[in-house]
């Protein structure tokens, strides 16, 4: 066998292909389910009943299924926004601030002006405004990163706190409705996004799906997608290839923020119609592990977003019934992230042909056959 062919031989144990990837996504989910079950048992709850309640309330009841699907919309959009920046290895961890600033605008300003605008045009104008506002909130971290190489993990998080605070100040102040409670005006009757006929699923969900597919096409088919991937793979290579890295950083952050802003528009105009001060669904950090579970692939993220929808709608019911705080579901998500990292570590070691078990354990095993491999 020629030298070249011998060197390029692919290790057969590599967990490539669709089955390997599905395994990588499902493995941690199953492990998280099992561990949560043990936790529930320790807390004296019946794990089987708990999971049955999630399934019942999240999928099997028609109203529950529709709620789960509706819940997908913001998760999908926030996830797509995170994926755009994460693929370029830009860690936008400020989704919550970006989301809430857009929420404050769409609820506070939108509820006042929507009545004066023609229905569809009004929604589009408000959605675009929400995207611009959330996108603009990334400018400071993006410019600091692009110009001075400052760590965006810190700057986006800090800007997120500031954004959340400003949103609350606005809702309690200039954007406050005329009631005593600190909240905005409510959207007038008939100005909310239409529901799909015969359901409680608003058209924002459909729009979110369409946008997410578009984002996937942009990421996989266009020159922008390739540039983002090269930057994500290796910033030095990106410079070497002649990519305008500072500009790309600003663009990637803006798109990321804009998609997150769209999630805010969909939530306010589709579900809530107003917002109270100090309300924060905290999508940003909940969605981060989910997009990694999808391997930063937008299409693969769709079923995961659906799973999250079921988990949060069903989880609300199940935790209440089991007399647990609703945040218990976050325990599951935390475990999910943990197992995901372990699974990826093991799979990467295997792909490189390195032993997975620690050295002290391996020593007790018989040595591998030395003549394995290419005979030259």
């Amino acid at each position: 066998m020629s030298e070249a062919a011998g060197r390029t031989a692919v290790n057969p144990r590599r967990a490539d292909g669709l089955i390997g990837r599905i395994g990588l996504a499902l493995g941690p989910i199953l492990l998280a389910f099992l561990t949560t079950a043990v936790l529930l048992a320790i807390l004296g709850r019946d794990p089987v009943a708990f999971y049955r309640d999630i399934l019942l309330a999240g999928v099997l009841r028609p109203s529950g299924l529709q709620d789960s699907i509706t819940r997908m919309a913001p998760v999908l959009l926030v996830g797509a926004g995170l994926i755009v920046s994460f693929r370029a290895s830009l860690w936008n961890l400020g989704a919550d601030g970006q989301y809430l600033l857009a929420v404050a605008f769409v609820a506070g300003v939108g509820s006042r002006v929507i009545g004066d605008l023609p229905p569809v045009l009004g929604w589009v104008v408000l959605a675009v405004a929400a995207m611009l506002i959330a996108g603009a909130w990334t400018f400071v971290p993006a410019l600091l990163k692009a110009r001075y190489g400052l760590n965006e993990i810190v700057t986006t998080l800090m800007m997120s706190f500031i954004g959340i605070a400003i949103a609350n100040v606005l809702i309690k102040g200039p954007l406050k409705g005329d009631e005593m409670v600190p909240q905005t005006f409510v959207y007038p009757e008939g100005t909310m996004l239409w529901d799909l006929p015969g359901t409680t699923i608003h058209v924002g969900v459909v729009a979110a799906l369409v946008v997410v597919v578009l984002v996937h096409l942009v990421l996989t088919r266009t020159s922008l997608g390739t540039r983002l991937d090269v930057l994500g793979a290796n910033p030095r290579a990106a410079v070497h290839m002649g990519i305008d890295v500072p500009r790309l950083i600003v663009v990637a952050f803006f798109l990321s923020g804009a998609l997150i802003g769209l999630a805010a528009a969909s939530d306010i105009m589709g579900i809530f119609g107003y917002v109270r001060a100090d309300w924060d669904p905290g999508y940003g950090l909940k969605v981060v592990p989910l997009v990694f579970l999808a391997g930063l692939n937008v299409i693969a993220f769709i079923p995961i977003a659906a799973f999250f929808g079921v988990l949060s709608i069903g989880g609300d019911y199940a935790t209440r019934k089991a007399d647990l705080p609703s945040d218990f579901i976050l325990v599951f998500i935390g475990l999910l992230f943990l197992f995901m990292i372990v699974t990826q570590y093991v799979s990467a070691r295997r792909a490189r042909g390195e032993p997975v078990l620690p050295a002290w354990f391996r020593r007790t095993l018989p040595a591998r056959d030395a003549t394995e491999g290419d005979g030259g």
């Binding site: 266009t222 410079v239 070497h240």
Partner: protein, 539 residues
């Protein structure tokens, strides 16, 4: 691989037991057998040259001997006693001293401090004993070493003496030198030879690793040739001491390449027509217009490396300008300043009369300025991307590979196929992730990307570093052909032989400054050596 174990001449078995005897050493890595049942012996008072291309398994074998790797099979005997070398520390205790390819001394510490580092027993530094030991060993080498000077202030040759002293610190019986000559000047190599002669006489067994034929012949008492992890031949002293160097070279090539006559002549140093070609080139360059001009270009360095200061030179169309210097003396800053990856703080750069000082990397590429980086894996390619996509990464968004911003995979594949054939890139398919190819094939792929689409100036940074002999020859042929087409070429290299082989002129870079430019010719290597030494003295 015929006659792989034929031995030319019978190796003399000394009266004494070999200092080192390896038998049946086998080491496999996933997908490749680096060492395949290798047996060899090193005798006291003898220099054993381990000759082979990159990837032949030399370094793996020596890593096994020094305790860095464990062999999958085979045994090691030191002075006739079978041993297991579990770690580099075991290796040192057994008397195996190793001098690595890259200098391992800490430049900000003094010679004495470097030597005491890691070899001092206990917590308190025993300076008196260390000083005495240094004196002993320096005398044994026949050199003078100042104990209290910072290592960074020493010349490369002097640093190497310190490395050898460090390797011998624990009463070594075997000294292994891994490709120690790559940037040594002719003067430096001569001095090293003298040192080795002295050490040999004192009864040390020396293993000298190299991929250069002439070094093996000049330095070795015995030469063992490795190829693809196997011993393919051995020449004993009775052969090496008779016949002209040219005949011996012939014998070694025969041993290394067997009955494949097409490979031998590709070794650059065997080509006799080079000198003639070069004089052709000189007449060709007369009156050739300048294509690249640097005027007083300064750029900062990165990560503790030198930047460049006031670089001024001209490259003409069809000219190969070599840049010599020890690694870390501003090579990267120079290459990146020309390519536009690093903004020059002062000075101007002109490409074919047009000023490009403030243009971006992409704009310079479109004007025909190309840069073949030395960091193939982490800068030159995106490893998980297909070979085909890597070919067009410098043209993202351009027609015909992207149409209206949308990728056209067919167009990329068609171009990839023709480039793969033209540049002889060995890949299973254009869709194979490029990171899975060998270093040589990645380099060929890089050349395919940079040399296609009408280059006018190409900067090569260490273009053959870490490649096998055959690919080295192919790369150098490409560079020559490029210059013959009228492209301006800059070759930055730490391999002096390579620069002499390729360049019309050689600029010498020291501490970020160009300290001289030498016309290539009979005395060029010596002249470059003087400039490097002079540069070092001046600093």
């Amino acid at each position: 691989m015929t006659g792989s174990n034929d031995r030319i001449g019978s190796s003399t078995v000394g009266v004494s037991t070999p200092a080192v005897e390896l038998s049946g050493i086998t080491k496999a890595f996933p997908g490749v057998i680096a060492n395949d049942r290798i047996s060899l012996r090193a005798l006291r008072g003898e220099v054993l040259c381990l000759l082979g291309e990159n990837g032949a398994g030399k370094s793996t074998l020596m890593s096994i001997l020094s305790g860095l790797y464990q062999p999958d099979a085979g045994s090691i005997r030191i002075d006739g006693r079978e041993v297991r070398i579990g770690s580099p520390r075991d290796g040192r205790e057994l008397g195996i001293g190793m001098v690595y390819q890259h200098l391992s001394l800490i430049p900000t510490l003094t010679v004495l401090e470097n030597l005491m580092l890691g070899s001092n027993p206990g917590i308190v530094l025993d300076e008196v004993r260390a000083r005495a030991r240094l004196g002993d060993l320096a005398a044994r080498l026949g050199v003078h070493v100042d104990a209290d000077v910072r290592v960074g202030a020493l010349s490369l040759g002097q640093q190497q003496h310190v490395e050898i002293i460090k390797a011998l610190w624990k009463d070594s019986t075997v000294l292994i030198l891994d490709e120690p000559t790559s940037m040594l000047t002719p003067q430096g190599i001569e001095e090293l030879q003298k040192v080795l002669l002295g050490l040999k006489a004192s009864g040390l067994a020396i293993i000298f690793i190299t991929h250069k034929l002439h070094e093996a012949i000049a330095i070795g008492d015995r030469v063992v040739a490795l190829r693809q992890g196997r011993v393919v031949g051995e020449l004993g002293p009775e052969v090496l001491r008779t016949g002209t160097p040219h005949e011996i070279q012939g014998r070694i090539v025969e041993v290394m390449f067997g009955e494949d006559p097409t490979r031998g002549p590709q070794i650059a140093e065997l080509r006799e027509d080079l000198a003639a070609e070069r004089s052709d080139a000189r007449t060709r360059l007369e009156g050739s217009p300048e294509i690249l001009r640097l005027d007083g270009v300064s750029a900062p360095g990165a990560r503790g490396q030198h930047g460049i200061e006031g670089a001024t030179f001209v490259v003409r169309e069809g000219e190969v300008l070599g840049v010599a210097g020890v690694d870390g003396n501003g090579q990267r800053a120079l290459a990146e300043a020309i390519a536009g990856q690093r903004r020059s703080s002062v000075g101007t750069i002109h490409l074919g009369g047009e000023e490009v000082t403030n243009l971006s990397v992409g704009a310079r590429q479109r004007l025909g300025l190309r840069y073949v980086t030395d960091d193939r894996l982490h800068e030159g390619v995106v490893g998980r991307y297909a070979v085909g996509l890597n070919f067009v990464l410098k043209r993202i968004g351009d027609e015909p590979f992207w149409r209206k911003g949308t990728i056209d995979r067919k167009a990329i594949e068609t171009t990839a196929r023709s480039l793969i054939t033209e540049f002889d890139v060995r890949t299973p398919s254009p869709a194979t992730p490029i990171g899975k190819l060998s270093g040589g094939n990645i380099q060929k792929a890089l050349l395919a990307r940079e040399l296609s689409f009408d280059p006018r100036v190409v900067v090569f940074h260490k273009p053959t570093h870490g490649l096998d002999v055959k690919t080295i020859a192919a790369v150098r042929d490409r560079i020559r052909a490029l210059a013959a087409r009228g492209v301006g070429v800059i070759v930055i290299s730490t391999d002096l032989d390579e620069l002499i082989d390729l360049s019309d002129r050689v600029a010498v870079l020291f501490a970020g400054r160009i300290v001289g430019v030498v016309e290539n010719g009979p005395q060029a290597a010596t002249r470059i050596g003087e400039l490097l030494v002079g540069g070092e003295a001046a600093a």
